[in-house]
């Protein structure tokens, strides 16, 4: 990895290379296009630059974690710029204001927001460039602009047969004023958007040459590992600092809030030093805590007074007067992220600068926290985002950055903090568990008239984003059920038309750190909602698809994905003997999905085999269809892990799960055939990265019921759970 690029160098680099540079400044009021002369007074905010060698360099501020954002953003710019793709190079941008996502005001890669947040601003930025290049050519030739056309990094004047390349035009174009509202291309003019473009990061990754956080090397780099508390809140009573320092290669031992850090010249020396510490810890804040304790505590909390989140009509009255009443309790346990690349960060802190190399999903947070930990102003903190060996929401929380910066500052060396897999699982910010109690009422015609939903969950917001915590409501925990005004358009809320709806929340006080886990709580909450909807359909004596459509009369996008998936999966048609189908739908991050799972259950050993999953997605316009399908496939497989296998185990007030031998993930032979159908749509663009997750788990649970007649209201559906349920039935 090359030395970091400071903001100034980045800026100078952009300008020194000379050419047309268009930046987008994000203001609270929207986007303002800037030209090169204005950039001087702003932070580096160039989205792309064209140089006289007729090349286009595109800078992407989002993190590449396999979702294809480097390619997607570049496609959007190249499309409107009418750039020749073979002349485009794509670079990872630094932490800088122009890369802040307009839908949340921070630079981050989460909430399936990279394309839905930047689609319009990047199109405008590209289109402005095209307009300026055309204008420059027209002025050069002294012909009307509308006689000139931009084609593949050139401007052509058909009447006279003249052509100038973008490279030839760029220096002159840079002097023009940037148009505020440049004309955008029409869909039929699209050259790249909507077509499957090979991802720019793939060749490097296949060659083994992509640099992830763990691969960063620096001169005099030292390694640090941290002895961490075995239980939540445990403090060190004693440790053998001298013993650790005597290990050959160990540089220093420093106590930090997270534990005791051993810094050494090599990783093996650091690990050996950590072993030599022989730390004795106290018992922590809740030494009795284990899985049973957690579930009991959260279930008991359902009986306590709760905070009202949604209260439409009169759910209590409607349910008490209903022709049919259905009630159920559901529980979703904690699950871990287990990114393939364990947490790590490299930092170099000197008196006047702080450089950070981090596989992170939160550049703004990384820069802020590194500034705080280093004691240097933000302008002196340079954030280099490496490739991420999975993101999955874990890297939204830059705790590993704080560790690296703190240790580097304390030991006076560039330091790479390394987490082992065991630490990565034990000190994760898990997907929050949820305990649910639902009551609902149907009228005499089997129509859904009332729904009362209680949810107990530990907070996610207090660990990751306190902004999402308001008046006792953790909005991350509500996603899938309800959303607050600010992000109402994301549609992270129950889609069914329920005249009397009550949703209540109570934050569990368990000391377990939680964070966003692909789709955040849309995943677990969709499992509960969509399982319960199937229970209601049965109570109403209706087909689950029919019942859903009846309760989604005015929700055209939900109806279309349901109808599509039903048609493509053969819903209602005969299926191989021993197999059963289940259906579910969910909307979040501005996209609608529905899925059908086909499974069979081995009643002798309790194993569930998922044979086929059919998915339909309506995300509005499509940028790059192949990675879109890959994201849905990946989300489905990750979600199947939570449906069938994944659950974090706790013991003695801490985490018992440690590695892939005890925390089991999906393997090749367990993966079904997956079909993804993109519903053609002209609606507002929505997210994709997390959209595979929510619907498949309830689809499997519903298929399980259809196969066995037994409803299991707790995931994962492991063979033991299945056998117990079948025996009880």
């Amino acid at each position: 990895m090359k030395t970091s690029m400071t903001r100034r160098a980045f800026l100078k680099g952009s300008l020194a290379a000379a050419g047309l540079t268009i930046g987008v400044s994000v203001t609270p009021f929207g986007h303002r296009l800037l030209n090169a002369s204005e950039i001087d007074s702003f932070s580096p905010n160039a989205w792309f630059k064209i140089t006289p060698d007729n090349k286009v360099a595109i800078f992407v501020g989002n993190s590449e974690m396999g979702q294809g954002v480097l390619t997607a953003h570049s496609m959007i710019i190249a499309e409107e710029l009418e750039a020749d793709w073979s002349r485009v190079t794509v670079k990872q941008g630094p932490a800088a204001d122009p890369f802040k996502n307009p839908i949340a005001g921070a630079q981050f890669t989460a909430a399936s927001a990279s394309v839905r947040g930047f689609y319009e601003p990047l199109r405008k930025a590209g289109a402005a460039g095209r307009a300026m290049l055309i204008k420059t050519a027209a002025e050069t030739w002294k012909v009307p602009e509308d006689e000139c056309k931009a084609i593949m990094s050139t401007v052509k004047h058909a009447k006279s047969g003249r052509t100038l390349t973008y490279g030839q035009l760029c220096l002159k174009a840079a002097k023009l004023e940037v148009p505020k509202d440049p004309p955008l291309k029409k869909e039929e003019e699209f050259r790249y958007l909507g077509k499957p473009m090979p991802r720019v990061d793939v060749p490097k990754k296949v060659a083994g040459k992509a640099v992830y956080g763990i691969d960063v090397t620096l001169k005099d780099l030292h390694y640090a590992v941290i002895a961490r508390p075995p239980a939540y809140g445990a403090k060190p009573l004693s440790f053998d600092q001298k013993g650790a320092e005597q290990v050959s290669g160990v540089h220093k031992v420093v106590q930090i809030p997270e534990g005791i850090a051993v810094c050494a010249k090599t990783l093996d020396a650091a690990l050996e030093g950590r072993d030599a510490l022989k730390v004795s810890w106290d018992k922590g804040v809740l030494p009795d805590m284990n899985n049973d304790y957690i579930e009991k505590s959260m279930n008991e909390d359902l009986n306590k007074p709760m905070v009202s989140v949604v209260n439409t009509g009169d759910a209590k009255k409607a349910i008490s007067e209903a022709a049919k009443k259905v009630e159920a309790n559901y529980f979703v346990p904690f699950v871990a992220h287990t990114t393939m690349e364990p947490m790590n960060c490299t930092a170099s802190v000197t008196d006047d600068r702080c450089d950070v190399w981090a596989p992170n999903q939160a550049q703004t947070g990384t820069q802020n926290l590194a500034s705080k930990a280093s004691g240097l102003p933000k302008e002196k903190v340079n954030v280099n985002t490496t490739f991420l060996g999975c993101g999955l929401g874990r890297r939204v929380k830059p705790d590993f950055v704080v560790e690296a910066v703190t240790i580097s500052k304390a030991v006076g060396k560039p330091v790479k903090v390394m987490w082992t897999r065991e630490e990565d699982i034990k000190y994760d910010y898990f997907r929050a568990a949820g305990s649910h109690r639902i009551e609902a009422g149907l009228d005499a015609q089997g129509k859904l008239i009332g729904w009362s939903h209680k949810l107990v969950s530990p907070s996610i917001a207090i660990w990751t984003n306190p902004m999402q915590l308001k008046d006792g409501i953790d909005w991350f925990c509500m996603w899938g059920l309800a959303d607050r005004q600010e992000s109402y358009g994301w549609n992270n809320r129950i889609q069914y038309e329920i005249p009397n709806l009550s949703i209540e929340f109570l934050m569990s006080s368990l000391p377990i750190p939680c964070g966003p886990w692909r789709s955040v709580q849309n995943g677990p909450n969709a499992f509960v909602i969509e399982s319960f909807i199937d229970e209601l359909a049965r109570a109403a004596g209706k087909d689950p698809l029919e019942f859903r459509l009846q309760s989604l009369k005015n929700n055209m996008r939900a109806r279309r994905v349901l109808e599509t998936v039903a048609e493509k999966s053969g819903w209602g048609k005969t299926i191989s003997k021993g197999e059963a189908r289940g259906i579910a739908q969910h909307a979040c991050f501005g996209t609608w999905t529905a899925q059908v799972a086909e499974i069979s259950v081995n009643k002798k050993d309790g194993t569930i085999k998922v044979h086929r999953v059919v998915a339909a997605v309506d995300c509005g316009p499509v940028v790059n269809p192949d990675p879109l399908v890959a994201q849905i496939e990946g989300g489905i497989i990750m979600s199947l892990g939570t449906a069938l296998k994944e659950e974090v185990n706790f013991a003695n007030g801490g985490v018992k799960s440690a590695n892939f031998d005890t925390y089991k993930l999906m393997r090749m032979s367990e993966v079904p055939e997956i079909e993804v159908h993109i519903v053609k749509s002209t609606e507002k663009i929505g997210g994709i990265g997390e959209l595979g997750v929510p619907a498949v788990t309830p689809a499997v649970a519903n298929a399980f019921f259809n196969a066995t007649g037994v409803r299991i209201r707790r995931i994962p559906l492991t063979p033991n759970v299945v056998m117990d349920a079948l025996k009880k039935a």
């Binding site: 974690m65 090397t217 005099d220 093996d268 393939m340 993966v671 055939e673």
Partner: protein, 192 residues
Amino acid sequence: MPWRIHYSSAYAVGFFIGDRHSAAGKSHENSQGKEETMISLHVNGKVYQVDVSKDTPLLWVLRDYLNLKGTKYSCGIGECGSCTVHIDGKAVRSCTISVGEVQRKKITTIEGLPENHPVKKAWIKEQVVQCGYCQPGVIMQVSALLSQKPALNADQIIAKMDDVICRCGTYPRIKKGIKTAIQMTKKEVTKS
């Protein structure tokens, strides 16, 4: 091909073996006396001598001493396959095998697998990778299985892939990639 000999006392000069080319031969005489304690490794057609304890996992020597960062650490207990390399042509987890066990054996890492190898080409064609972190290991495992004699068919190779983990869930693409790699291998054989 002629072996290039590189000598370095890794602990003495820094955290990895350093500039492989400038170090070549230079410290040959200096390290003569240490020869016996050095671990000799044949990696990607070159011979390296590294001053580490015999029980050091191969993975860390590849990454931090030889600066071959393509081989990845993920679990450290042989459960996920991200660290897979070839030892004498067979797929082996480098996190659970010590350098002492692989001295004088032929080690190939992702960097040593030719760019035009059918598996690498198939992986690009099918756009298999997402985050890509596990893929060097996956590619090394598939390429080892692909070269097995008698030849395995796609289903047989796929059946032997249950010991690798891809958290991104690229499994459907890995299956496609395997099928494409087999076709590409067949074409190459026909051509030659």
